[in-house]
Symmetry: C2
Subunit: 110 residues, 2 copies
């Protein structure tokens, strides 16, 4: 059944997860709340400046929640919002597609 | 159930559909085979040069099939490969996510 697609909806989802780092950050936060330095260590190759930018964008699009902890030393914790968690079915299908088509894709060159 | 994600698989799928035009072209081809000028008319705002580039990339990644027709006047027809058609479940989930989360997203600014 060919679903009736709405280009704006699809572009909205793409906007939220596009780019080199967003999916990697979302995957880390799917494992649970993380502090900035935990995210930085877990996201190999990212710089603090870029991580700050990406987290701000993910916060702006309603994917990530930023909480300032009331601890002795000021600390910030990041977590997925419900909208962020609800990306799982999208990521599941993306992964499934890649597993099936991926080997063909590699034959055609990257 | 949190699916065990493979970052490379997810990045592979993103690579194939990322960018301003690819999803729009894929949606058009989901309606059936198209000639270049049909695609150009249907993809509002795209230039021939950009459409050629995007189609070449979609062909390279195994999403689009390019067929030279044996007609009096040389003509080329584009269609989705099975890998292209198999993107439907990904697009379905992306659209579903946007419909649910979308209104929240707009509240936060684009």
């Amino acid at each position: 059944m060919v679903e009736k697609y709405n280009l704006e909806s699809l572009q909205l989802t793409m906007r939220v997860i596009a780019g080199k780092w967003k999916i990697q950050i979302i995957l880390e936060l799917m494992k649970g709340k993380k502090r900035f330095n935990e995210l930085e260590r877990a996201t190999s190759g990212i710089t603090p400046k870029v991580l700050i930018r990406e987290l701000k964008d993910l916060e702006k699009t309603g994917i990530v929640n930023r909480e300032v902890l009331k601890t002795a030393l000021p600390a910030v914790e990041y977590s997925l919002t419900p909208a962020g968690t609800n990306l799982q079915p999208v990521l599941n299908k993306m992964q499934k597609w890649a597993k099936i088509q991926g080997q063909f894709f590699h034959l055609k060159g990257s």
